[in-house]
Subunit: 412 residues, 2 copies
């Protein structure tokens, strides 16, 4: 077992002893079928592509249904878009209904949903430019309250604010959020939006999210925590359009950002199956190409990198979620070949690799096991939900902490 | 007048009307000699080279005296070294006496002195490694109290803490200050050292100083201010071994760091008169060369850049001080030709250029002027102290704010 596998084993699995009963009697010396039905770890992906599917408005319903199957074949956690400039392009006309229907589609299938983002200077509402800073602050707070309440119970996790490090000094174009943040400062900005989100949905998990992995984000986090603002999880983006970070860099980042004792979400991971973006590009949005194809060599490399990246994340106990930023090449940000599925809907090697990791190496597909003479089922499994069946009867249980787990389960 | 000159004029000079009297009578229609004796702007330089001179221990007293004359020809503000690993190489044996004598030498000549630094992870005391973190914190606080009190009245300005952005993640070598900062966090570290310095010398001007001009330093500052820690001035280093920043970058930095309403000190400026360090060097300390000569072309370039840099700084109202990091090439950090004076003691063009700016363009060398019929002397002058003489009688006055100034001065 490699050192990484050992850490994954230690942090992500339990050695379970399940006392299995049927009508109050131990199920001794019997063959049963064990299956993991859900991972505790959040294997996330954006669900933008499935909004039409969920709303029954997909242009190609059959293709959309295949996409949905592929999505659920690997992922158990969705991120849905709340970019203000699109969600409420015209003031007072939020895209609530359609988004809520999509969120319910995921939630009804047991997949938690995160909204992204409630505050950001990019793709923000143009109409903020007509307001003064006090009015912008009020509109921002009102917007957060509205979405938090409208989606509560369906979406209880939010990227509350995105990219605060650059927010007040963002100089690509004028926008209301940069104006406000520059005026009141980063920490008061974070306080404003977190207070609004917390108050509107006290049950929500609230994230601070950034792409800046430098000491700047550390300094921001330390200032925010020192100011007494409660952050539930730290979001670290990881768009690797300029090349896979490698284990060493990823581990160094985990080392630095786990110092705060907060859960870490890798919120936005991209790995390419085509040419890598040149290193001199600073703002990824500046890279515009006519065609950016997925290549066989690129696909082989991407599959290896996906595996290495996810192994590194699972080996670190602070990481609770990893969201891949787009299953499909079709419609991908910048036109980059970052999907796990080609534009024609066929899975790349990276899809198969991740599928194997999630469902086979780290999961428990239906597996026949025998109980012992006392009716005990012993196995090592990844944290999450399980189902055990025997003669058409079934029981469910959950492994929710690493280490030794003693449980009882009654077949019904 | 250029736009920069206009701003320098607006922020740095006063239109003075001085009612000049002699024995209570207006000195009407007389010729007088006006001279600026001190700039309000702090034209600083390190005074490390003059410690031996001040202590009478210079190896070449005549050369040291020439150096002292050159220093005072341009500068009015000294920075003296308090690197813990040198100042108290052996625990309990601080280099107080010698440093205090040097500080007095400057102070007696009217030049304020700043101590640099009270807390830093580089060149810190090796013996901290034998202590646990609580003991390191106590030693750091004790050290700050001791220096603050021992030098109070002579040194009333301190770079309290240096390079906090990188401090807890500095990984070149193990040291006690990084250990402590990593343990308690950046903001508690700043609070620890500022509280100690403030309490030990409530009259001191206390600086936070960093080389990191990115958003990281902004985030640190915002966190520190939000935490209620009082910073008297922000120190921005500007070692330009990799090339002059240019007006645009310098102005952008001033724009970003002046948002906090705090005075800004350019604490450590270096501009080379030789080859520029390659851009791929990240930690300047990594660049080691056998010989790094000053060249004629380099000296011409340096003189121009010095002028442009100082003009940019004086044109921004937030800047109160600019400290050049070494008048002499001899003994310069990294062996770089960053001095204004060559290793052989002869001034470079940059020295002459800065001398001209400080003393002639921005200063008032002894100048004959006439009072009007009411005994009024009218002139535009840079903020600072002035002396006016007439028939062997003299008066002194100070211009301490830009704009119109009405003063009275009685010749005595």
């Amino acid at each position: 077992m490699t050192e990484t596998s050992g850490r994954i084993q230690r942090h992500r699995t339990a050695d379970a002893v399940v006392d299995l009963t049927l009508d109050g009697e131990p199920v001794a010396g019997r063959e049963v079928v064990l299956e993991q039905t859900r991972h505790r770890f959040l294997f996330g992906c954006i669900g933008f592509d499935l909004i039409d599917h969920a709303n029954g408005t997909a242009a190609d319903p059959a293709a959309a249904a295949r996409n949905a199957d592929l999505w659920e074949g690997v992922f158990n956690f969705a991120t849905l878009p709340f970019y203000w400039g699109r969600f409420e392009h015209e003031r007072g006309k939020p895209d609530t209904e359609r988004t809520l229907k999509a969120a319910r589609w995921f939630a009804d299938r047991g997949h938690p949903v995160k909204g992204h983002p409630l505050a950001w200077h990019t793709v923000t509402a143009d109409w903020l430019l007509d307001l003064d800073n006090e009015e912008i602050a009020r509109a921002q707070v009102d917007r957060i309250r509205r979405e938090s309440q409208d989606f509560a119970g369906v979406i209880d996790m939010w990227d509350v604010i995105n990219e605060v490090v650059i927010m007040p000094i963002f100089d690509k174009y004028d926008n209301g959020i940069t104006r406000l943040c520059r005026d009141i400062g980063r920490i008061p900005m974070v306080r404003l939006v977190f207070d609004a989100a917390r108050e509107a949905n006290p049950n929500a998990t609230l994230l601070l999210n950034d792409f800046d992995m430098s000491a700047a984000y550390e300094c921001l986090i330390e200032g925010v925590l020192e100011a007494g603002i409660k952050i539930d999880a730290l979001g670290l983006q990881s768009h690797m359009h300029q090349g896979y970070w490698g284990e060493e860099k990823t581990e160094a980042i985990l080392d630095r950002f786990s110092r705060y004792g907060l859960p870490i979400h890798f919120t936005e991971t991209t790995l390419l199956s085509g040419e890598i973006m040149p290193p001199e590009i600073v703002d990824l949005n500046d890279y515009q190409v006519d065609s950016w194809p997925s290549t066989p060599e690129g696909e082989a490399r991407q599959a290896d990198e996906i595996e290495r990246h996810y192994r590194t994340l699972l080996a670190h106990p602070a990481v609770e979620a990893a969201t891949y930023w787009g299953m499909n090449d079709a419609g991908m940000w910048l036109g980059a070949p970052g999907g796990l599925v080609r534009a024609d809907g066929t899975p790349k090697p990276s899809y198969d690799r991740l599928h194997h990791l999630v469902n086979t190496e780290w999961g428990t597909p239906p597996t026949t096991l025998a109980t012992d003479a006392e009716g005990r089922l012993r196995f090592n499994g990844f944290l999450g939900d399980y189902r055990v069946t025997c003669d058409g009867r079934r029981a469910e249980f959950t492994l929710d902490a690493p280490g030794d787990a003693s449980l009882t389960a009654a077949l019904a």
